[in-house]
Amino acid sequence: MDIDPSLPHDVTNLAGRPSGRLGLDGLVSPFGSLLRSPELFRRVLLRDLESTFRGSVLGLLWIVLIPLVMVALYTFVFGVVLKSAWVAQSTSPLEVPLIYFTGLTISGFFLEVINRAPNFIRQHTSYVKKVIFPLDLLDWVLVGTALVKLAISFILLAAFLAIVEQRLPLEVIWVPVLVVPLAVMLVGVAWILSAIGTYVRDLGHALTIISPVIMFVTPVFYSLDQVPEVARGAYLVNPLTFVLEQARAILFFGAGVDWAGYAGYWVAAVIVFWLGFQFFSRARSGFADVI
């Protein structure tokens, strides 16, 4: 019998983990659950995606329908009622809705993860208490679900761009490149939020107040150039700012990737990711006690 000592069911791994051990082990293990149980990840991800729409008449069509309706609404409000700065800059008036669409889907991705994370572990109580389950995988699933929705939105975006501009929008391939470090950072953030939220229920409520605030201090409906010089520094702390500004510049205004900024962004993302995992690892041993 060959027994892989790193199997997810190997209990010494879990129960005997010395708390807060750093070093190589800490660097490898954030991906451990994902690499060991790809099938489990896939299944739980599918379940998470489908469970929202299961039983509804339109089913998974909602994943496409929701962003479409949202963009129509925001286009009307910010493109027609309130004239935005982008109307003047863009080559076609039909581009404006797409600019909003880009901003909304990326910030929507961010907010979905932030809002769901605090209650995510609690929603999977039986995975905590009744089965042997690599709980850190749940936050991968959380980000994964949001990423799938984002990907669908961007396929829609590419299709619209092709129609509006009458050409193949090849620059769309840069969007995933920009989103990957954001997703990595979000896994770390999700680990922290879901761990705290498991102990402190207030966090979920607090975030429902905070997320509209995040929405408004993020350059979704306006560009960073419209923000007064003084406040611009604060905007750069917002992890969404860089991704949104870059995505819009690349897709609509013919700019290239700011590689220096991108490298810096990766560094920040990896730090958050790693800290998130350390935090989660230490906090999770008490999950079963409090749920």
């Binding site: 099938e39 039986s126 009744k130």
Partner: protein, 431 residues
């Protein structure tokens, strides 16, 4: 190869710190904080299981059995001690944990199997066998919220039974489902033992006696006894008897028994022309309530009998009162097994030529207790008016006792053969 598989727990203990604010739990993960109150769910337990072994953990509710299993599974973090595990663990702490009601049985089976560490391909291969084991037919493609609790349990167990594991941790799941399902579960655990190790939590003595090689009895998180299932069960039962002797206590010991016995008492069906002999214990009756059956005792050699081996001369004492005049009371009993089947019975007409006189009395039945399979049994007592055929009172679980015996490998009962002969090819070999 087989020596590699083992489960060793040393000095295992679990303390629950009770804080006033949940946030303190989080802080505790990082720095030491003094809790408002502490509760030790388990203390200083050593446990070792190797391939081919099945250990039973017994004890009352809240004695730390489930905590122990969660610790072994790594779901809870031990406060003291450690768990060392060689091999793959499957924990069946709850049947159908993680099932989503809106998804079909098949979809849930796939996810559940993935939780147990099977790949999609492996599940694909085993699915026909899983379906066969569960025996829920077309329901496999319906959402599990449409399932009966029995179907739910069957599917969940079917998946678990097809998992590659070396060590199986089972928590009190053999009490669900119908008889056939229970028997399949038990058979599965017996088969599993040949290739792996099992730790089984139960408060059904019958399960422990039937499946385990050794047993540990826990009370308030502390080990009370350990040894062969029979020894441990004996001590455990004695303590239960000492603690209260009340009927409720007895029923907690065999919670499944009371429920299965209760299921036998379905609402009365329309009367038929069938002659209603008193001993027709299969017939449904609704007592009029005018009579009363007092607390009954079953004794052997003057001592109350709680645990029998078979072969004892026993005395069943049934006090009764009628509460109305003009009755012709008959007292009878049936001994039922845990599935509610009447094994045998007798009534007072067998030794009294007619109905009993007087308003109140006591009937004593002396009989030879046959060799019965291990398990819990009840004695079901009825008081019937022979004149009207009405049932005056019933006492379905008047006596509850256990048979601890390995006399029987198959069938319902055993006899001690008094004479036997063996003839082969016309030649008498025995005697």
């Amino acid at each position: 190869m087989s020596s590699e598989l083992r489960l060793v727990a040393r000095n295992l203990g679990k303390r629950y710190d009770l804080f006033r604010k949940p946030a303190a739990h989080l802080v505790k993960q990082f720095v030491d904080v003094r809790p408002a109150r502490e509760h030790w769910a388990l203390r200083n337990l050593d446990l070792e299981v190797a391939r081919g072994e099945c250990i039973g953990i017994v004890g009352r509710n809240g004695s730390g059995k489930s905590t122990l299993l969660s610790l072994l599974a790594g779901i809870l973090k031990p406060t003291t001690g450690s768990v060392e595990m060689r091999g793959r663990v499957a924990a069946l702490l709850e049947l159908g944990a993680g099932f989503h009601p809106d998804f079909t049985g098949r979809e849930n089976a796939y996810l559940s199997a993935a939780v147990f560490g099977l790949s999609g391909e492996e599940v694909e291969k085993r699915l026909p066998s899983i379906e066969e084991f569960a025996g829920i037919g077309d329901f496999i493609d319906r959402p599990v919220r449409q399932y009966s609790s029995g179907m739910y349990a069957r599917l969940a167990f079917a998946v678990a039974a097809h998992v590659d594991a070396d060590i199986l941790l089972v928590d009190e799941i053999l009490g669900v489902g119908d008889v056939r399902f229970q028997q399949r579960c038990a058979q599965f655990i017996r088969d599993f033992r040949r290739r792996g190790a099992v730790v089984l939590v139960s408060h059904s003595e019958e399960t422990v006696l039937a499946l385990c090689d050794s047993a540990v009895w826990l009370a308030d998180g502390v080990e009370q006894a350990r040894g062969t299932p029979r020894e441990v069960m004996y001590l455990y039962q004695q303590s239960l008897r000492r603690q209260s002797g009340s009927l409720e206590e007895e029923f907690e010991v065999a919670g499944e028994l009371t429920s299965s016995a209760a299921e036998r008492w379905r609402p009365a069906e329309p009367e038929t022309d069938r002659p209603r002999g008193l001993l027709d214990f299969e017939a449904e009756v609704t007592p009029t309530g005018s009579g009363r059956i007092g607390p009954c005792t079953l004794s052997a050699r003057g001592e109350p009998l709680r645990s029998a081996k078979g072969g004892e001369d026993v005395l069943l004492r049934i006090p009764y009162s009628i509460g109305q005049h003009g009755c012709e009371p008959i007292v009878g009993f049936a001994l039922r097994d845990r599935m509610g089947t009447a094994v045998f019975g007798a009534d007072s007409t067998e030794f009294a030529s007619g109905p009993l006189d007087g308003e109140a009395g006591e009937v004593e039945f002396g009989f030879f207790l046959p060799y019965l399979p291990s398990g819990a049994y009840t004695i079901d007592v009825r008081l019937v008016d022979a004149a009207s055929g009405a049932c005056l009172a019933t006492r379905p679980d008047a006596v509850l006792f256990q048979v601890l015996s390995r006399h029987i490998s198959a069938g319902m009962a055993s006899v001690a053969p008094s004479a036997a002969s063996l003839v082969v090819d016309g030649e008498r070999l025995v005697p």
